[in-house]
Amino acid sequence: MKRIISVLMENAPGALSRIVGVFSQRGYNVDSLCVAPTDDPSLSRLTIITHGNDKIIEQITKQVNKLIDVLKIVDLTEGAHVERELMLIKVATRSEAIRSEVKRNSDIFRARIVDVNAANYTIEITGTSDKLDAFATTMAQCAEIIESSRTGVCGLARGERALRP
């Protein structure tokens, strides 16, 4: 089952490699990983998408929490949460028909065209991973995908719950 593990850690050199190291050395899966400093620049927030049974997820949270640089860790999938991922996707738009179809589908998905060239469009879309998957599939049906890049998921718990130092 897919899990969203959110980690609050020191924004220190080597901290990220320690977390990634726990996953590789203990044989856990990383499906996506997203990390950046928080509003407090001395802290980083990292979101990992992983999968495994309850026992494995319990071990992941414990082993990551054990790292000296880690302040807090939470499995967001345990409760209500908001998750978002951003994708940039570049598609070939060689004809007017393709251009209009790409534009129409982008509007339906509430995606934004952020770069326009003679032969291609670059589109930005934000949403859950499922929505991004669906958009990519739709694009593939109406145009040739040249390249795409996804940020990986980031997420927050809904309501009062928060990951704070």
């Binding site: 080597g14 490699s17 190291g21 026992k55 319990e58 071990q59 929490n65 054990k66 000296i68 302040l71």
Partner: protein
């Protein structure tokens, strides 16, 4: 504010932490630090012959004292040579700080001479590590390193020091932090009161309890409380390989070591228990055998300071996160409120059952007239040291014999590489013990395979007058490998025997020590007596033992804890 060089800061910070001994080896990147060491006498340096041994010596020093062991090595090969020693300490939760030199900051990443990414190399086997970026940060990094190494679940910490930071020509203000606090690191000490209550309820309900005591009880010096609780409950006690000595091996309630080569009574007691109180033990595969068949009747209470150790392999019914010491205080406080006068009577059936398992006498062996059995050597060692020696061990059959046939009465008396199983650990560990306890008897039980993995340290022993007693059980083979080959590979001894064994007596003499060879049983006691009569000399006893002896009892793979072979022909 004192001004000093980065190198002087390293030494000053070590003094401020309270370090008295450093085990190390100089080289290009740490020459400045060595120059600072030269200028003072407070921090004593022990020059090893190979950096791996420096780590094991610091480890032996730490295990025998509870203090953090310190290693100082240069960059590149100096640092990487400590890796096995760091991994050994990590697996057994031993407090250690490794100060490694690094190439100058501006050359990091250029594949400079003797450059290795030590923080990267050691990452999976350290509790934490620091790559110091500014000279003024040196005192804080060192203070934090020692704090992290010896609090919570102890472990090794690496501090990587680029050469430009420790340059003796540059001076910086020295400020040693008054105390260390880290917002991201606050180990839980006390158990949760609700969990304590559940644990006490389970213990008081139990009719077949057992205490399963591991290295964690030694790490926090909780032995006295372990004994107090065991006696209050009148419960049998078993110790892991790492926990030997946490409960006296001579105590009536001790049923022996448990696990792969544990006693029959220990494994039977565990398997049939209705309540297991695990104290600082981690249910590792050398204990549990097949986890699916592990102790089917027991409520498992697992006390550990490391939450990640709880329910990692075996599910704990009552997890208690906290230090064994603090949790025992809590447990004792609650247990003593109960009426314990009938406890002995309540466990009468249980002890009768245990008595029957003990009566099997699983540690019996047949000692003939001439060929020496390894078990006999350990028993002789016990007699000649009155059970009071520090016994360090290497890894293999001799390790199991030393664990089973020398009842350790006190914690920190038995020093061995339990988790990693590092051959070559024993001699340097025993040296570290001797450095920490100059007046004590420090013995290493080793074999002809293990001793050759760090034999160069005989030279260090001469330099620092470390009168370690080496008891080498020489069977002309890699005994444990050979045993498995006998049992599983139809006796095909693939590369498990040594065809060109050195003359160990001459070798010891070449290093300036005393060598004694023992070939037959009638020589053993006199040789032991002679060995221990040389108080101030290192003695190497080359004891020729039966090549075909196996370690028994031994768990049968994929079985339950108590599925065991008792000899080459008998099983449970």
């Amino acid at each position: 504010m004192k001004m000093m060089s980065g190198a002087a800061m390293v030494v000053e910070a070590l003094k401020d932490v309270g370090v008295t001994h450093v085990f190390g080896y100089p080289g290009g990147a740490v020459l400045d630090i060595y120059d600072a060491l030269f200028a003072q006498d407070d921090v004593k340096h022990v020059l090893v012959r190979h950096e791996q041994a420096a780590a094991h010596m610091a480890d032996g020093y730490a295990r025998s004292t509870g203090k953090t062991g310190t290693v100082l090595v240069t960059s590149g090969p100096g640092a990487t040579n400590t890796i096995t020693g760091i991994a050994t300490a990590y697996m057994d939760s031993i407090p250690m700080v490794v100060l490694s030199g690094q190439v100058p900051s501006m050359h990091i990443g250029e594949d400079a001479f003797q450059e290795t990414d030590m923080v990267g190399c050691s990452r999976p086997i350290v509790k934490h590590s620091f790559l110091v970026k500014r000279a003024v940060d040196i005192p804080e990094a060192i203070a934090k390193a020692y704090y992290i190494a010896n609090t919570g679940r102890p472990g090794p910490v690496v501090v990587d020091l680029p050469k430009d930071l420790v340059n003796v020509a540059d001076e910086h203000p020295y400020v040693f932090p008054a105390d260390v606090t880290m917002r991201s690191y606050n180990p839980t000490q006390k158990g949760h009161p609700k969990q304590i209550k559940k644990a006490v309820d389970a213990l008081m309900r139990a009719e077949r309890p057992v205490l399963y005591v591991g290295g964690g009880a030694i790490a926090c010096d909780a032995s006295a409380k372990v004994i107090e609780l065991a006696e209050a409950l009148f419960s049998p006690v078993t110790c892991t390989l790492m926990g030997l000595g946490a409960f006296p091996g001579t105590h009536d309630q001790f049923v022996g070591m448990l696990g792969m080569h544990g006693t029959l009574e220990a494994n039977k007691t565990m398997h049939n228990a209705d309540c297991i109180l695990a104290l600082g033990a981690r249910f590792d595969d050398r204990v549990t055998n097949n986890v699916d068949k592990f102790c089917p009747h027991a409520d498992i209470i697992h006390v550990d300071i490391d939450p990640a150790s709880i329910s990692k392999t075996v599910n704990a019914h009552i997890p208690v996160v906290g230090s064994v010491d603090k949790v025992l205080d809590q447990l004792l406080g609650q247990v003593k409120k109960h009426d314990l006068s009938r406890q002995q009577q309540k466990l009468d059936d249980w002890w009768q059952q245990i008595g029957q398992w003990r009566a099997v006498k699983c540690l019996n062996y047949e000692q003939g007239d001439t060929v020496i059995k390894p078990q006999r050597v350990i028993q002789a060692l016990y007699q000649h040291t009155r059970g009071e020696a520090f016994v360090s061990s290497d890894v293999g059959q001799h390790q199991m014999f030393a664990a089973l046939y020398y009842p350790y009465a006190k914690p920190r008396q038995w020093i061995n590489s339990g988790g990693l199983g590092t051959m070559g650990f024993g001699l340097p560990a025993a040296m570290g013990v001797q450095v920490a306890h100059p007046e004590a008897t420090s013995v290493v039980v080793t074999g002809d395979g293990s001793i050759q993995m760090n034999i160069q340290e005989l030279s260090t022993c001469l330099q620092y007058n470390l009168p370690v007693k080496i008891i080498s059980l020489n069977n002309r083979a890699l005994g444990m490998v050979r045993q498995w080959q006998d049992m599983i590979y139809k006796g095909r001894h693939s590369h498990s025997y040594m065809e060109s064994m050195p003359d160990f007596v001459k070798l010891a003499e070449a290093y300036g020590h005393i060598g004694i060879r023992v070939d037959s049983l009638d020589q053993l006691d006199d040789a032991m007596a002679e060995c221990f009569s040389h108080k101030d000399r290192l003695v190497f006893m080359d004891v020729r033992i039966d090549q075909n002896e196996h370690v028994y009892p031994m768990q049968i793979k994929y079985g339950a804890m108590d599925d065991m072979r008792l000899s080459k022909t008998e099983r449970t």
